[in-house]
Symmetry: C2
Subunit: 113 residues, 2 copies
């Protein structure tokens, strides 16, 4: 893989990684516990975990030889802001339309050319 750098958008592009995040919303889990739920090999999961960590979605809690993965709220911030931008865009567009209709109520009446 040689993951140079993963931003949050790339990190969640992979279905397995999204699946892992969902699992961790239930509870923190060890790498092996996560790997058990998948058909792919344990090292493959290990790499996915690494990507999620680099992208800021999870932190670790070492417990002896086990490493527990824990969801990290801040990892979702970039995505949330991105979505919010477009959300605001739609809202603004709607309010502009409403203003327009308020001033020109006749626009609402369908005109055939």
């Amino acid at each position: 893989m040689t993951a140079l750098q993963f931003d949050s958008f790339q990190a969640i592009a992979d279905p397995s990684r999204r699946e892992i995040l969902l699992m961790l919303a239930g509870d923190k889990k060890s790498i092996n516990a996560i790997a058990e739920q998948f058909d792919i090999s344990r090292p493959a999961i290990s790499k996915h975990i690494k990507v999620l960590h680099q992208a800021g979605f999870i932190t670790f809690e070492e417990k002896g030889r086990e490493r527990y993965c824990i969801l990290r709220q801040e990892g979702f911030d970039e995505l949330k802001e991105w979505i919010n931008f477009f959300d605001d865009f739609w809202k603004e567009r709607l309010s502009k339309l409403e203003q327009l209709l308020e001033k020109n109520p006749d626009i609402a009446k369908k005109k055939n050319k």
Copy 2:
């Protein structure tokens, strides 16, 4: 490319495609008008547009030989729901903590072991 299928998560994983979406938030734009803003070739942009369309982020408005790209609100729904799921998760977690603190106000006091 031979894009088999692109879900919305994969669609926004590419920086150029996110850039295109931002551009379209300003106004609808023809394929060429979009391509002009990028260093990559026009066919490359054409493919990105195709992906964004397949993923539901944009629609087209044909105008003679020009094809205008228009942002489509529904394209963002899947992402929004995904983010909302985790948002709710954090909120619920916070409210549970608050409930706990309300019943056991002494937990808040730092205890050294």
